[in-house]
């Protein structure tokens, strides 16, 4: 029982990441009708926003202290980050909280990148076949990936969560269950964060006039255009929004998985599977399938299960996708008429 609960929890953070990326993919697909293979690259760029911010904060001032000597007899180097010399304790706080704070710079950066990408490239591919869209965004993903690799190197760059949430939460004790159920705080934070973002996106679409127009445009963009609304501009903003969601998912994921240049591709393939399982063009489907597959994956990596089916943890998601696609052609929550062949 404990083990099952624990695996369930383990699946939540990964499921959250899948759900966020899949949500962005579905938003783009539902509005612009574009299959965006560069969406994983946006996730990766978000993660590297956090890395860059952390690097900037950690720019160090080197002072040679002549009074103290190192073992080699040279003057001791005292390295202090500039922010600490400038702001003192507040600077220390900034460095400690660099990952959550970098959200603040990630949002505008990703919005800009998203809109630039849409206006600069995706715009010209609305009417082209899906194969062309896949190919051009695939090329773009490679380009982004290689540029990041050039500047940040090929090795993963570990990031640390704020000290206050560095340990593990004793969740079992909270609910009066056994004490064995402990869970890293940061993963819990990540799950809460992704739930918050998902709720924010849905309420934006559901409860604002802007969102209402966007939803109308998803149904029938031509009619909305005839009513005198510049639906194209709104779709561009939605693309930017999707980029922001992917970027935020990436930022907050950095303490869980040290970012490297190909993390986007790894997640993209899975997220596409998630989108298809959830039903192409269905936002709730994407979220549901994201969490479902995340949890399923963590269950499959239990020792009890891998000893019966070795390797199942590696392929469970693809296996589920294959079964779902063959039995439920529209995915879990897909609507009729969306992407029917």
């Amino acid at each position: 029982m404990d083990a099952i609960l624990l695996q369930f929890l383990n699946g939540l953070d990964k499921g959250g990441a899948y759900a966020l990326i899949a949500l962005g993919l579905t938003l783009v697909f539902g509005t612009l009708g574009v299959v965006n293979f560069a969406h994983g690259a946006l996730f990766m760029l978000g993660a590297f926003c956090a890395v860059t911010f952390n690097k900037l904060l950690n720019l160090e001032q080197v002072v040679l202290d002549e009074t103290q000597k190192t073992a080699w007899g040279s003057a001791l180097e005292i390295r202090t980050p500039y922010v600490e010399t400038l702001f003192g304790d507040f600077g220390h706080f900034l460095i400690d909280y660099s990952v959550p704070i970098s959200i603040l710079i990630t949002i505008p950066v990703m919005l800009l990148i998203g809109i630039a990408m849409e206006r600069g490239l995706i715009k010209y591919f609305y009417k082209r076949p899906h194969a062309d869209q896949i190919l051009v965004t695939f090329g773009l993903a490679i380009v982004i990936q290689e540029i990041v690799k050039h500047y940040f190197g090929a090795n993963p760059i570990p990031q640390s969560a704020p000290e206050i949430v560095a340990g593990s939460a004793n969740i079992g004790a909270w609910f009066g269950l056994s004490d064995n159920i402990v869970y890293p705080w940061w993963r819990l934070v990540y799950f809460g964060f992704s739930a918050f973002i998902i709720a924010a996106v849905f309420s934006f679409l559901q409860f604002t006039t802007y969102g209402m127009v966007v939803r109308a445009g998803m149904r029938d963009s031509e009619t909305v255009g005839l009513l005198g609304i510049n639906i194209q501009r709104r779709f561009t903003v939605v693309f930017g929004l999707a980029a922001v969601v992917a970027g935020l998912a990436g930022v907050m994921y950095t303490p869980i998985l040290p970012p490297d240049y190909h993390m986007g591709m790894d997640f993209l393939v899975l997220s596409f599977v998630v989108v298809v399982v959830g039903g192409m063009g269905s936002l709730p489907g994407a979220v549901l399938a994201g969490f479902l597959l995340g949890i399923l994956q963590s269950f499959a990596s239990m020792n009890e299960i891998t000893s019966i089916f070795p390797g199942i943890d590696q392929i469970i998601i693809y296996l589920v996708a294959v079964v779902i696609l063959l039995t439920m052609p529209r995915g879990l929550l897909g609507r009729e008429g969306v992407m029917e062949e």
Binding site: H130, D132, F138, I142, K149, V269, Q314
Partner: protein
Amino acid sequence: MKQIVSREPFALLAFAVVILTMPLWLTPLGANYPDLLQKFAIFAIFAMGFNILFGLTGYLSFGHAAFLGVGSYAAVWSFKLFTMNVLPAIAFGMAFSGLFALLIGYVSLRRSGIYFSILTLAFAQMCYNLAYSVLTPITNGETGLQLTLQDPRIIDRIFVEPGPGLPETNLFGIDMSGYPGFYFCAVVLIICFFITRRIFKSPFGLTLRGIKSNQGRMGYTGYSTRPYTLAAFVISGMFAGLAGSLLAVTDPLAGAERLQWTASGEVVLMTILGGVGTLIGPMLGAWIIKYFENIFSSFNKSTLSEIFSFLPENLQAFAVDISSLFVGEGWHLTLGLLFMLVVIFLPGGVMEGWRRLVKRFSGGGGGSPESAPVPQAAE
């Protein structure tokens, strides 16, 4: 029909001459060494096979690297278990990849469009993940499958005493490294070209094209399209397996990275770059990519600063910095850019560019040269 038949030997002869004299006409281009030539031939086969599926039926598979990898593994196992002769290895490679293609195709082809792409991608990733984890006894995981001195090699042991060191792959005594390896691949390529040409001209090929332009209508006219697409899928899977086993023939080791989906992306790019649905386009695409990969990835900072040495010093450093992004390790960046540029500006690939050029210079004064590009299949 008669005309095609009578032209066939000439086309084939011309093709054979061009391929077999590759070492001659590639010398001025600086590409005349066996390693690269072998790659030219092998990846031409891979791209040609991919084109039978993507070019003719319009089904975009993102998992073709799986068949390449399976072909490689099967061939290396044939070297390890039976004999160093290359013919059984190729036969095994094709048989196994064909079997895999039959299984994967049977399932994936139930869907089309992007669903098909994702299904094939999912299967390829499954193979890749399994090759790295559970199937390590078969694939040797990260190290890759290699020949060892302890291999049984049953058939070889019957005929000859095993010499010291690792044996070379051979074709009845002819070592398959260097130029003989290239000529062997070239002959296989010519055979594949012949087969592809026949498929293109056959009623079967025509049916596949019909499926590309309108599958529904093909169904209404009484065709059951599934067997046709499945046949195309298996054929192209076997081509990929053949290419994979040839990779193993020229260099007897197989690694899991050959199954990765970036490898699938590469063959898609070759096909697109050359020209989807054309007979020799994919081959040209494969050559161009392998040629530039070879040239660009060999560059480094010192060669770059030599190239830009005519510039003043500051500018030189700047130019070297910028261009070093694109060469050496960064070759993939150039590849990605190329990919984008081709898809954006020249969806028909090199072959379409050539056609446009010919049209412009052969006195096509009538229509405006900027007329609409060749329309893609209606979706």
